[in-house]
Point group: C2
Chain length 321, copies 2
């Protein structure tokens, strides 16, 4: 049987209350007793049962993190940084991969509630199931879930603007934008708005393609319908790289005939594709801010719900530089 507080008390020759006092640093305890207790804990290999503690304290120090998947480098980085920040603040991460499925996400919410998590960080876009969250502290990254849920995102509008303006500055006339489904209400839509606005302000015609399942299909369609394209602003780096590869195969020269700017700018992609221009999202900062805001929600009864928007930057890559 696992040793419990009673056993520690017995081997230390003190009362269970004293052990608890030592563990929680409450009331008066002499140095000698403290050491006796610690010694006893080491001796019998005692490890406190956080379930029991949490049950009484109504605090688990658990944070649920719902992400589509950790395979995508952006989400992978995000998860890594979130975990790090949580750990710094004494929180543990319960990881949930929603795989973009609303049904799964709903189940995960319920699971997290059953597990009495202190809060949730969501990086998915399924509205409507927030009624489930009954006053649970929550932060959404890059997605509007509801008015009551705090949003952390990078400056998507600025990102779209930076990318489009750079392409124009590089002399592109026929700039296309490829992005995910536009129906979803996410701050990422601001990238598209910025693109459209900058294009129109410069007297250019926006060309927009939406990717659903098959990325390659849409890329093919884009090049088939707009062979004159000389600039592409893709809403993520993978999409940008795939467009790049397809363009090369079609005989385009990069950057002479066609310039491409991606989005996200994870360390991984920048290190293995240094030639790619991209908009860098401050992933570490997004993670930090999210955890910080969530922590505040958990610990303070009063807090303002205002979106936090973090700055992006343009990485020209070796090709546009």
């Amino acid at each position: 049987m696992k040793p419990k507080i009673q056993d520690v008390a017995k081997t230390a020759g003190v009362s269970p209350t004293t052990v608890s006092r030592v563990l929680n640093d409450r009331g008066y305890i002499s140095k000698e007793t403290k050491e006796k207790v610690y010694q006893a804990m080491k001796e019998i290999n005692y490890i406190p049962n956080d379930l029991a503690r949490s049950l009484y304290n109504k605090r688990t120090h658990l944070i649920g993190v719902i992400v589509p998947s950790a395979s995508n480098p952006f989400y992978g980085d995000l998860v890594t940084h979130i975990e790090r920040c949580c750990n710094d603040k004494g929180y543990k991460v319960l990881l949930c991969n929603s795989v973009h499925e609303a049904e799964k996400e709903k189940k995960y919410w319920e699971m997290l509630l059953r597990n009495q998590v202190d809060g949730v960080i969501v990086v998915t876009y399924n509205r409507g199931l927030i009624d489930l969250k009954q006053h649970l502290p929550a932060v959404a990254i890059d997605h509007y879930l509801s008015k009551q849920i705090q949003v952390v995102s990078s400056d998507n509008f600025q990102g779209g603007k930076l990318a489009t303006e750079e392409l124009i500055a590089q002399g592109c006339k026929h700039i296309a934008h490829i992005n995910g489904a536009a129906t979803i209400e996410t701050p990422a839509n601001d990238r598209r708005f910025a693109y459209q606005q900058v294009m129109i302000n410069n007297g250019l015609t926006p060309i927009i393609y939406e990717v659903h399942d098959n990325q390659l299909e849409v890329i093919q369609q884009l090049f088939a319908e707009h062979p004159e394209v000389d600039g592409i602003f893709a809403s993520d780096d993978i999409l940008a790289i795939k467009s790049w590869q397809y363009a090369i195969k079609q005989g385009y020269r990069i950057p002479e005939d066609l310039k491409i700017i991606g989005y996200d700018g994870t360390e991984l992609i920048r290190s293995i594709y240094p030639e790619l221009a991209t908009i860098i999202q401050p992933i570490a900062q997004i993670a930090e801010k999210s955890v910080e805001l969530l922590d505040r929600q958990i610990n303070e009864q009063e807090y303002a719900i205002a979106p936090a928007i973090l700055p992006v930057s343009l990485c020209k890559g070796s090709v546009l530089d």
Copy 2:
């Protein structure tokens, strides 16, 4: 206050015991009562407290997963698949990023024990702190931790053999191998053994470089000391890609002057670097096997501790094909 079983009982007009019976499907319950109870739960938005249940049942359905980081695509994929498999079996994942630090890993082990996890999956290589695990079900991926811990890995020897033999078949005479620190006892060392053996069997001289912190430095060193190199077997894809890039910069033509084979073969890398040859590790299978073995350890008192070795395959990429 959150509703508890008592509240459900009250609104359903039954006793708490009956509610528990419904929840756990035990003893006799009529359909009508069942429905009354479910109705009541819905009405007052009842969500069972898994802390309390776990405390009594001594089963948390929590699995600790210790990984260096989810940022690396291999680990990211692994985490994603492990989470999926766990979820399929009703387990929840407590994620820990050890960042290659023994101290952190030790703390994570203790944290997991405090949280009464049912088992642990480790993907790190710090020996010596296994005394901490006091009969906790555990599986190590790609690392020997101790005799008592079950290992799941892919066939690293076969991977090293496949890669080296392919380079030789392609006509390479001066084949170098770059890998991580060799001092660590990991199945990944078998890649190097296989490389050495195949080289020697073919009358070739092994050239081995070890990467510690700075990858680029070692790559530079390799090319400086062995400009005659015409084949590289790198122990992961990132390393392979960086070598590739450096070689190109140095004026090597690929594959005419130099052929490179990487390792891991994650979906991400294969999709954005289709030209790269690599040894594909069956990540999904590794995850599945690990969870399956861990689940068996958790549920069965008797189990054999034998390493599970899964097959790898060579992906020639568009360059070696």
